[in-house]
């Protein structure tokens, strides 16, 4: 009986730990460090081709988590589209990750807002778990060596992009 109770308690603790969002990346940035971005592999929203985050090594990546049902994501997307065009030639990429979303809704969101940057699909929230995401939208600026340099827990704006992305591009 004691063993069974201990087992149940261990399982409860494991469950709680698994569901608690990780704040390791925020802590590293607060301490002035850059932690390695978790390497995730996700299919493209449009073609289904699998991309890994490691494949973007050498470029500055703005990894943006969004969903078509998220109103702030709708307001933020044009800013990301504009910056995606501006930074492409300087070695920067905006990568959208559509999360917890029906693919048809996501594609219609892309069409409505004329979004052209690369869109990946994360229907079950792999990136959400590994990056400690608690809401939508959230963006992670990843430097050329694959380390997280800045985080926006909420919609990005021009000021954030100027201060977090431009210095990494050397532009």
């Amino acid at each position: 009986v004691l063993l069974a109770t201990a087992g149940v308690l261990v399982l409860l603790a494991l469950g709680l730990a698994a569901n608690h969002p990780s704040r390791g990346l925020d802590q590293a940035i607060a301490e002035g460090r850059r932690a390695a971005a978790p390497n995730v592999s996700l299919p493209s929203l449009t073609t289904g081709r699998i991309y890994t985050l490691r494949a973007f090594r050498g470029r500055v990546v703005v990894l943006n988590l969004w969903a078509s049902w998220c109103e702030p994501c709708r307001a933020e997307a044009p800013v990301l589209e504009r910056w995606s065009r501006q930074i492409a030639a300087h070695g920067g990429s905006v990568v959208g990750v559509d999360t917890f979303d029906a693919s048809s809704d996501a594609r219609s969101f892309m069409r409505q807002l004329h979004l052209t940057y690369r869109m990946l699909r994360d229907p079950s929230g792999v990136v959400k778990a590994s990056f400690g995401v608690t809401g939508f939208p959230e963006s992670f600026v990843i430097d050329r060596s694959g380390r997280v340099a800045a985080i926006a827990r909420g919609p990005v704006d021009d000021a954030f992009m100027r201060s977090a992305v431009l210095p990494l591009l050397g532009a």
């Binding site: 399982l11 049902w69 917890f100």
Partner: protein
């Protein structure tokens, strides 16, 4: 042979108008309400029936579309898994770490049953092992008689 063919023709003519009606009666094959307890709101982490969020509303729209298309509950579950992954199902999968969700309640009930059984057995054993009370001596018997007599006298 002719009689058999005639009978077949009669049966076909009788069932002909009924078949589409039967098919129509079986559609929809499930309801939005029934599906809401089987599907999770991924953002909220609760079944859709309890969820109140924009994401839950989008899931509801998709489910309504599938119900209207006359999909069965299992077809809708499969379609939702294809869209959102296995975590969309309210019932945990029976493999990987999630299997503990199925095993733990069974193990806990078995452990509780074993524990209660063990306690009952030990209580019964203790009772049967307890020494029998010593027989009443003659002096005790006399004292009891005297006390009872005094009691009945006092009551009168």
């Amino acid at each position: 042979m002719r009689v058999a063919l005639a009978l077949l023709a009669v049966c076909a003519s009788l069932l002909g108008p009924v078949a589409p009606a039967l098919a129509a009666a079986s559609c929809p094959r499930t309801t939005e309400v029934a599906m809401e307890s089987k599907i999770m709101c991924q953002v909220c982490g609760v079944p859709l029936a309890l969820a109140n969020s924009l994401e839950a509303d989008r899931e509801r729209v998709l489910i309504s579309r599938l119900v209207a298309r006359c999909d069965s509950a299992s077809q809708i579950e499969a379609a939702m898994v294809a869209q959102y992954g296995p975590s969309i199902l309210a019932t945990p999968p029976a493999h990987g770490f999630a299997i503990t969700a199925w095993l733990v309640p069974g193990i806990a009930i078995a452990a509780a049953a074993l524990g209660i059984g063990g306690v009952l057995l030990s209580v019964r054993r203790r009772r049967s092992d307890a020494p029998l009370p010593a027989p009443v001596t003659a002096s005790e018997d006399a004292r009891l008689d005297a006390a009872l007599a005094a009691y009945s006298q006092w009551n009168e």
